[in-house]
Symmetry: C2
Subunit: 395 residues, 2 copies
């Protein structure tokens, strides 16, 4: 039995016409003697609309109940797709988290899949040509519904493919993975093959193609992921092991950053560790961090997302009020620009070429990893920076 797992995103199942088109596409694939498992997201804006309804009732809705609400979105699209498949004489059955046996931990709103009841799914595949499974959700050990976080249907599909040792195809509006988001740089090249580590850095850095956790799982099980456009025959991109043919694979952009500077802290590392410990506990998204020890004082600088800045200011003012010399300052409207590539590990001079291509653009913060360099720059310089880096690394 040759099993293929396909995942269709929300815009691919946005209305009844698109659902019928996908059903036809699936029918073609079955002709090649395959059994298909289709993982679907909620239709179009369904999840947003459900969230809006819940916010009209409560600013901080009970998370167990919120997940109970949100999981309906995928049950709607799964059953409609199954209706469309049955209409064109395909033996199809939709399965929700209970029926498919998708077990997660207890973390409502960002649960992790623990296991699939693969025996149950394989049994169903004996009797049906296509199973349509609700993405984005699972059940915990109490039988309560959980959701996997925004974009979690990718993870449902990859986890399922991994546990069945099947191919995984992720379909969306994008015809593949690009070196740079084509909306930012229309000349961006499509990447034919990309390594798991590169994709991890790229999905973490704001490339919206794939849910981060899905790539982690694919890496662990060496599952090959194909990313392509739903309504196009254009060849897409593969995420797979062991490709290292270019130094820099792609460029990612993260807008809406604020830089926080804390000047003249006393040399007291336990104080600094305490600050980052608490910011993490309070779920601030602290990202790039730089600590400089100068003149018997310590200066700390880090980036946060724009939305967190008011809360962060209040927290720091309260927490540091006993240190009279300390000065807090903020820089707004910044963008993080990053280049990623496994080839960096073995190739020298990438950082130098990166900084050279940024030329006279002021950089306010820099961080590097083995396969990534990120710089914080002013939003107004973004398009110039993208152009220069793209040309330097032929992206």
């Amino acid at each position: 039995m040759n099993i293929i797992v396909q995942k269709y995103g929300g815009s691919s199942v946005a209305d009844s016409e698109k659902i019928k088109q996908i059903a036809k596409k699936i029918k073609e694939k079955i002709k090649e003697n395959n059994k298909l498992i289709i993982v679907v997201s909620a239709m179009g804006k369904t999840t947003d609309n459900l969230l809006k309804l819940s916010r009209e009732i409560s600013k901080k809705p009970n998370l167990r109940e919120l997940d109970m609400l949100l999981t309906t979105g995928e049950q709607i699209s799964a059953s409609l797709l199954s209706i469309a498949l049955n209409e064109i004489k395909i033996k199809a059955k939709s399965l929700n988290a209970y029926q498919a046996g998708i077990y997660t931990n207890n973390e409502y709103n960002h649960a992790k899949i623990e296991k699939f009841d693969t025996k149950n799914i394989l049994n169903h595949l004996e009797n049906y040509q296509v199973l349509v499974i609700t993405g984005f959700q699972g059940i915990n050990q109490n039988g309560d519904l959980t959701t996997l976080g925004r974009g979690g249907s990718d993870t449902s599909a990859v986890a399922l493919a991994s546990s069945l040792n099947a191919k995984c195809e992720i379909y969306s509006d994008y015809p593949g993975i690009y070196t740079i988001d084509p909306k930012l740089y229309p000349n961006a090249k499509k990447i034919k093959k990309v390594n798991y580590d590169e994709m991890l850095e790229m999905s973490r850095l704001g490339s919206k193609v794939l849910h981060y956790r899905s790539v982690e799982i694919a890496k662990k099980y060496k599952t090959i992921i194909y990313c392509g456009a739903t309504f196009s025959e254009e060849e897409g991109s593969y995420i797979m092991p062991g490709i290292e043919d270019s130094v820099v694979t792609g460029l990612s952009v993260d807008r809406g950053q604020t830089q926080v500077n804390i000047i003249n802290l006393p040399i007291n590392y336990s104080l600094i560790n305490e600050i980052f410990k608490i910011t993490t506990e309070k779920s601030f998204n602290v990202d790039m961090i730089s600590i400089i020890n100068a003149n018997d004082k310590i200066n700390v600088s880090f980036s946060i997302v724009e939305n967190d800045k008011a809360d962060m200011d209040e927290f720091l003012k309260t927490h540091l009020k006993e240190f009279k010399d300390v000065k807090l300052s903020y820089r707004y409207n910044l963008t993080k620009i990053s280049v990623v590539g496994v080839g960096m590990r073995s190739s020298k001079g990438v950082a130098m070429r990166f900084f050279k291509s940024l030329d006279k653009i002021p950089i306010t913060l820099v961080t590097t990893s083995e396969i990534k360099i990120s710089a914080l720059i002013d939003e107004t310089n973004l398009s110039k920076a993208i152009k220069n880096i793209a040309e330097e690394f032929s992206l």
Copy 2:
């Protein structure tokens, strides 16, 4: 533990404001030291919208998948109401058919509840003040979702109350049960108490207040049902055993009837029985039937709903083509008007008073039962007939 089961219909949970209002109403009821089980319908037009989506994809959607689709409506309203209750510090939990343990037979789209997992529900009630349960649905022995048919949430509530030996309160837009639909006759009186048998006749005859099956269950378990308006303090109506204080309790109206006349059939009862057997198998809604044996021939007359008339004509023409003398004729735009009352059993002259009050209005078909008299009249005479009957029986 004093348990009350309340059911709220679709218009009562139509938007987030109404859901918040219901949550407040529930909070008041808890103060009286009760535990509440709330059964909800889908919000406003949700079920209609889901049906419309499915029909865009298939004219005859796979029924198993259709039920999978429709059950999402109640899961949305149940979780939103639970969010609203938690927001005002009520310990509440929503439960879908899996979680509540609502077991039905296999008849997708019009399933019958077989049992509730009452032990599970009582366990949950130990830890929560309110359980919000999805109406209209259950699961069959394969774990597939089923629905109970239009208005099935009434049945969910009554069945649950019956199995827990609890009070049952049904809330809707109507402040109770009336002798006649107030839209047809604004002077109609509200009925304080009504007997199960009368209510069965009334709900079967087109009174939209309660799902037929829910009254059957209430009768079997002697469960008292209170019907009232959601957003009003006005005292509603009780459905309960053993009330026989008026001869005629109410008047029901069923529009859109067509009368079928088959003249000059041979005297062959097995042929006639065959006709009614097949029409039932084909799901025609054959209702009032009159058979008259005259002059060595039989004349049969019966009423059907308007929508069935084209199919019925085709069926009869095919089935009776060998009988050359037989003549088929139809009368359109008829209305069935009925009076119901347990008191009829012991009170003579009701039929006479009924026909007298219809005065000069032509009646084309009549049927009677122990507690009901129905007449088929022309739609144009309806308002006059209602007025006359209402005055005659003080409705």
